[in-house]
Amino acid sequence: MATKIEWETEMDKALSRAKSEGKEILLDFYNPG
């Protein structure tokens, strides 16, 4: 099992994966500061 969330960092890549894998996207807008 993965030990962390495997985040994408580009919208286009996430959308492409969402369509091919048939999954919704969790979009997290965050502020690391």
Binding site: M11, R17, K23, E24, I25, F29
Partner: protein, 151 residues
């Protein structure tokens, strides 16, 4: 979220198995304005075309994040007309997290999805009855109030 919720084993397992996780900076020039981001953390569940189905703002503990995401998945299926899948998502939420903050909205949309899937309006009254019994002060009990009249 990074200190408490995202390292949680159950959260990692749920997100990696059920969603495409995408992280963008709050001031991302291309997308922050499109999604009207004003505060962080803002979490949005998007359908496969990038359309928003559900949003939360502020910290969520692991036992609130997972049902919030399940609700978003169910609403994406509802909005896409995949009512059987929506019902399954809401049932999973209500089975695993029956007292979570997301539960009342899930009960409401489970009833609506069941009605849309079966054409049986009794599902709407059952949703009202469940909300009235379990979450009588919730906004979703108020929204379902007219359904009490369905025979």
């Amino acid at each position: 979220m990074d200190a408490v919720t995202y390292p949680d084993e159950g959260v990692i397992e749920y997100i990696n198995a059920n969603l495409i996780p995408l992280r963008l900076m709050h001031d991302d020039k291309r997308h922050a304005a499109d999604y009207k981001i004003k505060w962080t953390p803002t979490l949005i569940v998007l359908d496969t075309d990038g359309h928003e189905s559900h949003r939360t703002v502020g910290f969520l503990a692991p036992d609130e994040l997972i049902p919030a995401l399940q609700l978003g998945v169910g609403k994406a299926d509802f909005e896409g007309g995949r009512f059987d899948r929506a019902i399954a998502a809401f049932d999973q939420l209500l089975g695993d997290h029956a007292r979570s903050s997301a539960a009342p909205e899930a009960i409401f949309f489970r009833g609506v999805s069941t009605y849309k899937h079966t054409d049986n309006p009794r599902a709407l009254r059952e949703a009202y009855e469940k909300l009235n019994a379990e979450f009588p002060d919730s906004e979703w009990a108020k929204k379902a109030y007219p359904y009490r009249l369905i025979e």
